[in-house]
C-alpha cells in the first residue's frame, strides 16, 4: 500500500452543539483522488471543516494525523504551518477565497509571503497554463469581482497549488458552476494533481463526478462513512442499502 | 440558549415598561395631591411626607404633577408613534409594491425631510403652529413617518420579488389581498421593532418642545414644561427640576432598552 498521508481515527465532530460526525475512520494515501459523496446534512463538509480548524466544527473525540503527526490537538499557531502550506483548501464559493476588490497579484503575493515563501512567477505561469488561464499578467492585474465564477474558481485552485501542498481538500468546488465549466475545471484540477503529485479529497453531492474522477469513493450518510472502497467496486457492487438507493436515484446518461 | 437569555431580559424590561404605563394611566389613584391646586402657604417645600417630591413655585405637588405629566407624555408618545407607524407602513407598502413615479416622488420627499435634523424641523413647524400638544405632535410626526415608510418600503420591495407573492398572483389574488395577507404580516415584526425604538426619541422630542414652550402649555403638567418652569429657581428648589428630569431619563432608558433587546432577540 502507498504511503499514508492523512489518518482520521474515531473522529466525532459537533457542529453548532449537535453531533454531526460519529466515529469516522478514514485514511488518505499519497497522490490519490478520494471522493467523499453524501447528501446535504450528511456531515461531509463538516468533516473537511474539522480538519481545517473551523470554529463551528468542534472535534469532540478522536484524532487526526498528518504524516503520522497528530494535528487535531496542536495549538492553532502550530496548525497554521500545516494549513495552506501542506494542506490546501478550496471551497464552493470562489468569491469567499479572495477579497473581491483587491488586485489578484497583491493577494497572491500576500498568501505566499504569509507562509514565508516568495512568489515563483514561473511556477505560477505553469499552473496558470495548465488551468487554461491565458494571459497571466492581465489576470493578476484584475480584481476578482471583474471575473466569472469559473475563472475565480480556477484562480482559487491556482492559489492553493502555488504553495505546493501535499493534500488538497476541495469542498463542492464545482457545484456552483455550469456542467461544461465544471468538467473543464475538474479536468484541469486532475492535470495539476498529476503534475505536482498532490492527494485530493473532493467532497461532493454529485456521485457522477466522483464516479468519473475518483480512485476511491467514500459514501457518507447521517454522519458516518457507510461505505468506502475503490470506485469501480463501490459503483458496481454496492454493499450498503443507502449506497444502493443513491445509485438508483441518480439520473443516468451513460447507458445509452 | 442566547435567545432564552434575551427573552428573560425582554420580560423584565417590558414588565417595568408596563408598570410605568399603568402608574401614569392611573395617576388619579397614585397621586397624593391634586396636581393643579396652588397653595401660597406651601411654595417650594422640600420633599416631605405630604409632598414626597416637594412642591414647586406655586405650591403644587411635584410628585402628582410628575405622574399626571407622565400620562400626557406617554399617551401623546404612543399616539404619535402609532399614527406615524400606520401612515408610514401604508405609504411604504404602497411605494414598495407598486414602485413607479408615485414611489419615486414620495421617497424624494422623504429624502428632503431627512436632510434636516428632526428637531430643527419640529421646532420650526411647532413654532408656525403656535405650540400646543397637537401642534407639537404634528411637528414631530412630519418627519417621523419617514423612517417607518422607508423601512416598510425596503421590506416590501424584497418580499414582492419572492416566489410566494408570484404564487399568489398565479392564484389570481388581488393586490389589496396580497398586501394585506402576505406583505403586511411579514413586514410587521421589523417595523414594530422600529416603533419600539422610536418611543424614546419621541419622548425626548415632545418634552424638548414643551421645554421650549412649543408643546404643552402650562398649567397642564408635562415633564418638559415642568423642567422649563422650575429651572428659573433651580438653586432654591432643585427637586422641582430633578424629579421630572429623572422621570424623563428613566422612562426613555426603559423604552430604548426595550427596543434594543427586542431587536437583539430578532437578530439572535
Amino acid at each position: 500500500m502507498d504511503e499514508k498521508l492523512l489518518e482520521i481515527k474515531n473522529l466525532s465532530v459537533a457542529y453548532d452543539e449537535s453531533l454531526v460526525i460519529k466515529n469516522v475512520n478514514l485514511d488518505i494515501y499519497k497522490g490519490e483522488v478520494f471522493c467523499l459523496v453524501g447528501e446535504s446534512g450528511s456531515g461531509k463538509s463538516t468533516l473537511i471543516k474539522s480538519i481545517c480548524r473551523n470554529k463551528y466544527a468542534k472535534i469532540t473525540g478522536g484524532e487526526i494525523f498528518f504524516r503520522e503527526q497528530c494535528i487535531s490537538d496542536i495549538k492553532d499557531k502550530e496548525m497554521a504551518s500545516f494549513l495552506g502550506c501542506r494542506i490546501g483548501l478550496i471551497q464552493q464559493n470562489p468569491e469567499g477565497a479572495f477579497n473581491p476588490l483587491r488586485k489578484l497579484s497583491d493577494q497572491f503575493n500576500e498568501t505566499v509571503k504569509s507562509h514565508g515563501k516568495k512568489l515563483d512567477k514561473e511556477k505560477l505561469n505553469r499552473i496558470f497554463s495548465t488551468l487554461n488561464l491565458k494571459d497571466m499578467d492581465r489576470i493578476l492585474k484584475s480584481r476578482p469581482y471583474e471575473l466569472s465564477g469559473g475563472m475565480n474558481q480556477r484562480i482559487a485552485i491556482a492559489a492553493s497549488f502555488i504553495l505546493e501542498p501535499e493534500l488538497l481538500l476541495c469542498d463542492e468546488i464545482t457545484s456552483a458552476l455550469d456542467v461544461t465549466t465544471a468538467i473543464a475545471v475538474t479536468d484541469e484540477l486532475l492535470r495539476l494533481k498529476n503534475d505536482m503529485n498532490v492527494a485530493i479529497v473532493l467532497v461532493t453531492h454529485n456521485l457522477g463526478i466522483a464516479a468519473n474522477i475518483a480512485d476511491r469513493i467514500g459514501i457518507m450518510y447521517k454522519g458516518e462513512i457507510v461505505e468506502i472502497g475503490a470506485t469501480s467496486k463501490v459503483l458496481e457492487n454496492p454493499q450498503h442499502e443507502y449506497t444502493k438507493r443513491l445509485l438508483q436515484d441518480v439520473p443516468k446518461l451513460k447507458a445509452i | 440558549m442566547k435567545k432564552k437569555k434575551i427573552k428573560a431580559k425582554i420580560i423584565v424590561v417590558s414588565a417595568i415598561a408596563i408598570m410605568l404605563i399603568l402608574v401614569t394611566v392611573f395617576a388619579d389613584f397614585f397621586a397624593p395631591n391634586d396636581p393643579y391646586t396652588t397653595s401660597a402657604s406651601s411654595i417650594r417645600l422640600a420633599p416631605c411626607l405630604k409632598y414626597p417630591f416637594g412642591t414647586d413655585n406655586l405650591g403644587r405637588c411635584v410628585l402628582s404633577r410628575v405622574l399626571y405629566g407622565g400620562r400626557t407624555t406617554i399617551a401623546a408618545t404612543f399616539a404619535l408613534v402609532f399614527i406615524s407607524f400606520a401612515i408610514g407602513a401604508i405609504v411604504g407598502m404602497l411605494c414598495g409594491y407598486y414602485g413607479g413615479i408615485f414611489d419615486k416622488l414620495l421617497m424624494r420627499i422623504a429624502d428632503i425631510l431627512l436632510a434636516f435634523p428632526q428637531m430643527v424641523v419640529a421646532i420650526v413647524v411647532a413654532g408656525i403652529l403656535n405650540g400646543g400638544l397637537g401642534g407639537a405632535m404634528i411637528a414631530l410626526g412630519i418627519t417621523m413617518w419617514v423612517s417607518f415608510a422607508r423601512l416598510s418600503r425596503s421590506h416590501t420591495y424584497s418580499l414582492k420579488n419572492q416566489d410566494f407573492i408570484k404564487a399568489a398572483l398565479f392564484a389570481g389574488k388581488s393586490d389589496l389581498y396580497i398586501i394585506a395577507v402576505h406583505i403586511f404580516p411579514n413586514i410587521l415584526p421589523p417595523v414594530l421593532t422600529n416603533a419600539l425604538t422610536q418611543i424614546g426619541t419621541t419622548m425626548i422630542g415632545l418634552s424638548g418642545l414643551s421645554f421650549l414652550g412649543l408643546g404643552v402649555v402650562p398649567p397642564a403638567a408635562e415633564w418638559g414644561s415642568m423642567i422649563s418652569e422650575a429651572r428659573a429657581y433651580i438653586q432654591i428648589a432643585p427637586w422641582a427640576v430633578l424629579y421630572p428630569a429623572l422621570a424623563t431619563v428613566f422612562t426613555i432608558i426603559v423604552f430604548n432598552y426595550l427596543g434594543d433587546v427586542v431587536m437583539d432577540y430578532r437578530e439572535a
Binding site: 455550469d178 456542467v179 468538467i183 468519473n212 445509452i256 | 416566489d163 408570484k166 404564487a167 398565479f170 395577507v181
Partner: protein
Amino acid sequence: MTILEGKNLSKKFIDKDKEIAALSDISFTLEEGEILGIVGESGSGKSTLLKVISGLVVPDEGQLIFKGNEYNGQKARDTGRFLQYIFQNPLSSFDPRLSMEKSVLESGRGKKDLVRLYGILEEVGLNKELLQRKPSELSGGQCQRMSIARALYSGADILLCDEITSALDVSTQAQITKILHNLKDNGKLSAIFVSHDIALVRMLCDRVIVMKDGKCVEQGICEDLISNPHEEYTKKLVESAVRQSI
C-alpha cells in the same frame, strides 16, 4: 393536440446601457399530456422563456397561444387559470407565516374543496396532517411536493417547472420526478420542465429544447438528441453531462 404554443418569442433586457437579448426568436409547441424539457446552462434564457410563457415577463415580440387562443400580454393573474408555475426554491414559494393549508387553498380561486385537496396530496405522497404546518416545519422535498399539490389544486392544465429539483438532494429529486412521471402516465399532466441537468430531463421528457444565449440551439426527441447531437454546443453539453454521470 397542441395545448400550448409559442411563436418567435423575443425579449431584450437593458443592463448598464447594454441591450442583452435574453430570448431571441424562440418557437415551441407543447402537446397535451407531454413533458417538454428545456435544457441550458446559466444565462441561456431558459428561465426567462418560462417567465415569458407564464406572463410574469412580457415578451417584446412573438405570440403565445393556449388551445388556439392567443393570450399575449396576459399577466400571471389571468394566465394562472390555465398554467401554474413551480419555483426552484420550495421554501420561498410559501408565505412563511401562513399554514400550508391556507397557502395551497389560495390557488383554488375562492373554491374550497378539501376532499379534492386530500386526493391530490395522496397523489404527491404527502400526509394531510402536513397542511397544518408552516413551510419552515417541512423538509425541502415535502415543500416542493406541496408546490406541486398547489399547482394541481388550481385545476390548471399546464405546469411550468423551473429547476424544481436543483435545490434538492438526489433522493428527494428522484421522488419528485417519480411523482411527475406518475401524473404524466395518468394523463393528468402537460408540463414544461426547465433544468440544467440533461440526465434528469432524459428521465422525464419526451422532447427537449437545448438553449444557449437566448437562442434555441437544437430540439428534438430526447433520446435522439442525446445519442446523436448535431450541433457543436449540444455535443459539448452532452459530453460534459455524460462525464458527470454514471
